[in-house]
């Protein structure tokens, strides 16, 4: 292996010699393994290792960025980044002041899932696949397991030198059922910050998922219309991430007068019971870390408190421009990209309503569960539920085909009229932005009820 520690220390001392306002370097060593099943068989097993890094330089408000796999001739790459930054100079970018940090955040080899024997991982996945296949009506299945371990070194011309390790485990299972003409699928996504126990002993969930896939074959499709919709914690977590979380990323806002006006702190976005938080400093979740990719300490940031906008997520650049405090939300998916403003662990804080109370006065509505996907254009969002049911006269009624929900973020947040008491974090997601995907994040929420939500259908 290349010794990024040795290279890092050598290069760190020379950064000040360059004629730039600021230079930072990331070096990274990573290992990962993936196991894929399609149908009854294990389809592929891969192991990968990568070494790479990047240099980011700022000269008079202009950015240069160089990424590489080859670690030879790094001083020349620093030179190139500085040259590029000088070409862009006059761009007006600035950085909020932060104290340089020197720190080491290790997780220990005991917590490296990549080192566990492939045979053990395979045995677990074989068991889940068998559970899917004993379900009558299953046409096929897919299982995607992935794990990774990453050691990264960050240092800057301002004197930071931070070494961090992190690990990640993800598991996605899909059961596909068919009745000859029609095909339906239900999926299950799980993940953890490297702890493989998070995906063990989920036999019941796998069984339920498989039955569900067969059941929705004979389910009707909802009529496209406005409904009172109740979201389960998984889907509400996706909703808060997609519909609101992205809007609170300051890079969408900081250089746009109209957006700044729209996102003025203090503005009312929802009812008094609505509180939304993003926090990388919560321990042990997939979006957790001590320092972000600009070497800034992680924080807990209230985005909405009692229905009012009170904060947003920042990089050093967006914080400087908006004259607010950095929040430690600059992240890059790997060394091939510069850090951009990202979410970490984002959730709606729990209220007091129980699920039974929430649905008790709905005459006709939709109960949407489980994540399938979601995307946003800031104002508009769509997200899709993996499972859906009609709610009739205060009770869960017939199963529906999976539904897609869409709406205007601002209206929809105001239309949340009940917040449950059952917060749950979903660790199975990955976020995409600016071509960087999937970034480990987690989302969470209690059950929530939304009035007047547009549901796509026949």
């Amino acid at each position: 292996m290349a010794h990024i520690d040795i290279i890092g220390h050598q290069l760190a001392d020379s950064l000040k010699k360059h004629n730039a306002d600021y230079i930072e370097v990331h070096l990274e060593e990573s290992q990962s393994s993936q196991i894929t099943y399609r149908g009854k068989k294990l389809e592929s097993v891969n192991k990968s290792s990568a070494v790479g890094g990047n240099v980011r330089a700022m000269v008079k408000g202009g950015w240069g960025f160089v990424s590489f796999n080859s670690l030879s001739n790094l001083p020349k790459r620093v030179e190139t980044a500085v040259k590029q930054a000088r070409f862009v100079s006059g761009g007006g970018s600035q950085l909020a002041e932060v104290e340089p940090s020197v720190d080491t955040v290790l997780i220990g080899t005991d917590n490296n899932p990549v080192l566990l024997p492939l045979a053990d991982k395979k045995e677990l996945l074989d068991r889940y696949n068998e559970i899917i296949w004993v379900t009558p009506g299953i046409q096929t299945s897919t299982i995607n397991y992935g794990d990774g371990h990453k050691k990264s070194i960050f240092f800057s011309s301002a004197g930071s030198y931070i070494e961090q390790e992190r690990a990640d485990v993800t598991l996605r299972l899909t059961a596909v059922a068919t009745d000859g003409n029609d095909v339906q699928q239900v999926g299950l996504s799980l993940g953890s910050r490297g702890d493989i126990r998070a995906i063990q002993d989920i036999d019941d969930k796998v069984e339920e998922m498989s039955r569900q896939a067969v059941e929705i074959l004979s389910a009707p499709q909802v009529k496209g219309d406005k409904y009172t919709v109740v979201l389960d914690p998984v889907l509400a977590g996706v909703f808060v991430h997609e519909a609101f979380g992205h809007l609170s990323e300051a890079d969408f806002v900081y250089e746009n007068e109209q957006m700044r006006e729209l996102m003025t702190l203090g503005k009312e976005f929802g009812g008094p019971g609505l509180n939304i938080v993003d926090s990388a400093s919560l321990p042990g979740l997939r979006g957790s870390y001590k320092y972000d990719d600009e070497g800034v300490l992680a924080t807990k940031t209230y985005l909405i408190k009692e229905g009012r906008l009170v904060g947003r997520l920042h990089s050093r650049e967006t914080a400087a421009k908006m004259n607010e405090q950095p929040t430690g939300n600059a992240r890059a998916i790997n060394y091939r990209y510069p850090p951009i403003v990202r979410m970490t662990n984002t959730y709606i804080e729990p209220g007091t309503t129980s699920f039974e109370e929430m649905i008790s006065d709905i005459k006709e509505g939709v109960y949407a569960k489980n994540w399938y996907g979601g995307t946003t254009s800031m104002e508009m969002f769509t997200f899709s539920a993996g499972e859906a049911y009609m709610i009739r006269d205060g009770k869960i009624a017939e199963t529906l085909r999976p539904v897609v929900l869409t709406g205007n973020v601002f209206e929809t947040l105001k239309n949340i009229d009940a917040i449950g008491n059952d917060l749950d974090m979903n660790q199975g997601g990955g976020c995409g932005k600016g071509g960087q995907m999937p970034l480990p994040v987690s989302n969470g929420s209690p059950h929530i009820r939304i009035q007047n939500c547009l549901v796509g259908g026949k």
């Binding site: 399609r38 290792s49 796999n69 190139t80 046409q139 095909v183 995307t375």
Partner: protein
């Protein structure tokens, strides 16, 4: 590479080394101004082995890591699938032009100048428009060798240019944009900016939409965002082999409208998705998927083809793992109706340019459903304004059975699709 192959052959019956290196220079504009100049160098080596009849696979970024690479591949081969195919031996490849040295020679100054020009043009008359632009030149080198004497390489150049604008008034947001790519340098900014200016013009006013069934014209972008993904999945040989493609048992049958012809084509000179051979070293070919409405073929890589008793169509693509059937560029043949005539034919309907989130539904079954991010209302043969809060849903297997009209003008979208507009009827539209 030869050293890796030699080491791998000591422990495995067969081996293949795939080496990819690339240099990419993106120039990025944000908030109407130049923000970043970047350069990205990447290398990746993938080793695929067949040991005791089973497939093993590993990758590294440093080609000197021979020992680690071979060991990791051997470890995975304990559990890998049985290899049902042979690596292709030495063969001849079609001559396909994929590299223009002029791309590498475009300077950062020129790229930055093109970006500035695009932004200035579309903001002229639209001063509130917030623009982003991205230009990039890249060169990719692909090398492949295997233990059966197969050996091949090519270079690909790609130049791409994109411009996007956002217009925000209160909570109302409009997003417009255009992108183009080629294996030649692109210097004509006007062909991009004209598209954006027209989008801005058509979206000037908002028009109400009712909920119900109505005709919809999907523009090439609209097709890319709504219809193509389910189609690509349906023609994927692996999905067919599993029995989960609705087309699986319909080969030779008329499944679509008789005017619909679609092929997968990696053989067009100077297109970013073109290449003389696929990621397994199998020669590239045109594969007709739909001919006059009849399903005529599926896309296969070596392993899937062997399992299905077919021949590889040269469609093995690597997406960070083992090769699997992948489309290169979908080409939909043009029809005979102009876009303007389609619009003129509609009493009440929509034009869909961009559908957001369409790929989230049951793609396998052919469903799409999404929010109209950019689309227009048509009333009495005229586009009257932009629609909002509108959802469009349907199933491609039902809708493409009866196409009202196929457009006469085709264009490329994102390097992976060349298509005319499609005019479809009876589409479910939900609005509030």
């Amino acid at each position: 590479m030869e050293k890796i192959l030699a080491e791998a052959r000591k422990v495995a019956e067969e081996a293949e080394v795939f080496y990819l290196s690339s240099e990419d220079t993106p120039v990025q504009f944000e908030a109407n101004r130049l923000k970043y100049v970047q350069s990205k160098q990447t290398t990746n080596v993938a080793l695929r082995i067949i040991k005791d009849g089973r497939l093993g696979y590993a990758t590294v970024t440093d080609k000197k890591e021979v020992r680690n690479l071979v060991d990791a591949a051997v470890e995975t081969a304990q559990f890998g699938m049985n290899a049902e195919f042979e690596f292709p031996s030495s063969t001849s490849y079609p001559v396909i032009e994929t590299y223009d040295p002029a791309v590498e020679k475009v300077s950062t100054e020129e790229m930055s100048g093109l970006g500035e020009k695009m932004i200035a043009t579309i903001r002229n008359g639209n001063p509130d428009l917030q623009c982003e632009a991205g230009l990039s030149k890249s060169t990719v080198a692909v090398n492949i060798i295997n233990s059966r004497g197969g050996q091949a390489d090519y270079k690909l150049s790609v130049f791409s240019m994109a411009v996007e604008g956002a217009l925000i008034r209160g909570t109302d947001m409009l997003f417009v944009g255009e992108h183009q790519s080629s294996s030649h340098p692109i210097t004509d900014t006007e062909s991009l900016t004209a598209v954006v200016l027209r989008q801005l013009e058509l979206a000037k006013y908002q028009a109400p939409v009712r909920t119900g069934l109505m005709p919809v014209i999907f523009t090439p972008y609209g097709i890319a965002s709504a219809l193509i993904q389910p189609l690509m999945v349906g023609f994927n040989g692996k999905i067919v082999l599993e029995g989960s493609s609705p087309l699986g048992n319909k080969l030779g049958q008329t499944v679509f409208d008789k005017r619909l012809t679609v092929r997968d084509d990696p053989t067009i000179d100077y297109r970013p998705a073109s290449r003389p051979f696929d990621d397994e070293g199998v020669p590239s070919q045109r594969t007709t998927l739909i001919e006059n409405g009849v399903a005529t073929g599926f896309l296969y890589d070596l392993q899937t083809a062997a399992l299905a008793g077919k021949k590889s169509t040269g469609s093995g693509g690597r997406h960070g793992g083992l090769p699997s059937p992948s489309s290169s560029a979908f080409v939909i043949s043009p029809g005979d109706v102009t876009f303007d005539d389609m619009v003129a034919d509609i009493r009440e309907g929509l034009v869909v340019e961009q559908l957001m989130g369409a790929g989230q539904g049951n793609i396998l079954g052919g469903d799409f459903s999404g929010n109209v991010l950019l689309g227009y209302k048509v009333e009495n043969g005229k586009i009257v304004g932009r629609v909002k809060n509108t959802m469009v849903s349907g199933n491609i297997y039902q809708l493409l059975k009866q196409i009202t009209a196929i457009g006469s003008e085709t264009r490329w979208v994102g390097g992976f699709l060349q298509t005319p507009p499609l005019y479809l009827s009876g589409i479910s539209v939900a609005s509030k």
